[in-house]
Symmetry: C2
Subunit: 338 residues, 2 copies
Amino acid sequence: MSTYATEKKYIIAVDAMGGDNAPEEIIKGALLAVESNDVEIILVGDEDKMSKYLPTDPLSNLHCVYSYGVVNEDEQPLEAVKSKPKASVFVCADLVKEGRADAFVTMGSTGAAMAAGVLKIGNIKGIERPSLGGPFLGLSPKTILIDLGTSIDNRPSQLLNYAVLGSTFSRVFMGIENPRVGLLSVGSEEGKGNRLVKETYPLLQKSGLNFIGNVEGFDIPLGKADVVVCDGFIGNILMKFSEGLGVSVFDYIRSSGLSDNPTENGIVEALYSMTNFVEHVGGGPLLGLDGVAIVGHGRSKSASVSAAIKLAKTVLNLDLVDLIEKDLNLVRSRLNVY
Amino acid sequence: MSTYATEKKYIIAVDAMGGDNAPEEIIKGALLAVESNDVEIILVGDEDKMSKYLPTDPLSNLHCVYSYGVVNEDEQPLEAVKSKPKASVFVCADLVKEGRADAFVTMGSTGAAMAAGVLKIGNIKGIERPSLGGPFLGLSPKTILIDLGTSIDNRPSQLLNYAVLGSTFSRVFMGIENPRVGLLSVGSEEGKGNRLVKETYPLLQKSGLNFIGNVEGFDIPLGKADVVVCDGFIGNILMKFSEGLGVSVFDYIRSSGLSDNPTENGIVEALYSMTNFVEHVGGGPLLGLDGVAIVGHGRSKSASVSAAIKLAKTVLNLDLVDLIEKDLNLVRSRLNVY
């Protein structure tokens, strides 16, 4: 972790080029964040593309570092590290690595953020790849789904790590003392599930975590578990399905002509934000990284960017990285297989 | 297929003991079905448990065949075949096997229905296990998700079969001439996905089906594909997640005190039925079975049971089994790997 963590004012590197609405909404979000939070921001991006969105009068809490290019969603991140070493997300990670920033925030490619984080900042010992997990559904806003798609075809040891990362996150962010960990499956009984679930179950039982067994799709919105553990392939599909549902419900009610009064509009908008919670929260930290990187939604607009920057500050304040490291060591000491 | 298929009035064996609300709601549903459809029904169940729900005056279209016991959700179906050979679902399948019924309908254990179907009726040639697939979301009522959980840890050849089964189902039931087949994944580009998706992709490309590539969770409620193909583990989680969402949204709006007028209640109920579509439809046929078996939701009440019986009649009328067999042969002839 950065040695800056004990200081009062954190410096956050913000990838101005990443995301569907970059750089305009990213810069707007950064401006919102410096106004409302006691943080210092370094905007990282192409000089010519950023210039017209920057304030004409310099702000003491807002700096720029120039980068060259951006890693797109469809690019292979590891190739991009070689071909575009000065792309915005890599420069962000460099700033953290060099101790010039305490955390970085990006709304760009998750794969590029992962590569930047792992190659430049590094993982906590015993973690193979960092993970994204967090609340994704406003109906159960304290339920964390992990992993949301950072890695797929997971092995049992990875799901075990997700359970630890998620538990620490739940304890630190949600204030839940002893988070209930559920393993996502197709039946609640032990032995129901695919190979991965069946092999992960005994690990979780021995982990010392508050493992409540398998949970089903039905249980997620009911908040039956505080941490729902699953392969990133499934987590990603669930998160996007939920988002799509919210959009479709929104359109359905609008087009049905049933929503002509303000109360109903309130319901509809509440439903939208409940099913598009990640947009609302801003993003999530790359869990397992030995430093702080926040990955936001590609569709983020300024409010989400500002929320993501605030989240970076919170993660630093709460010392999440150190706490995760301690929890991982504790679980390791309980398990031979680990 | 049963030789009765050419006759006008079909005979449907109904498992009176399967499901959470058996036998009362099953028998009520059967009575509803004989009233409103031109079908003949054989109720299969324990004599003493059924008797008090049966009409006092005999009906010409309703018969009883007695069975002994029921296979529960948590039982191993293949063990149950040995220990309880006269359980209701097995007797139902026997009736179809012996040509005494044209189809069977059960709201009981899906595993038991599968075992009964496979062991007694058999699969269409080239099909290893039958599959359940169907519309599961009222927001995209013509989009079929397959498989919904009949088998997990699937291989590429199974997903290819799902694509064929789903396409025939879509054409026959939804009236879609050339159904768009999407492979559920975490990105729309070829090459995005887990191992299973990557290996299935080229098979679908060569299949001659109307394969539109990968689709994401977001695309399901938007109806981007007519047939969404996925491992049964994921399909089951998605279906149950959708159901849980509907229930939670219902509770949320009720408890929010926002729904005090009838229009809003209409919205809420519409949302519920849209996300709990399987309950509404009644159930789905076991696709790939060389005969007709309808598996309904365990929570079904009489209206769903009646809908499932009507579905059995429709499947028979449309000659779905023969059409699936033809489509499978066609795709096989196009693929060497098959």
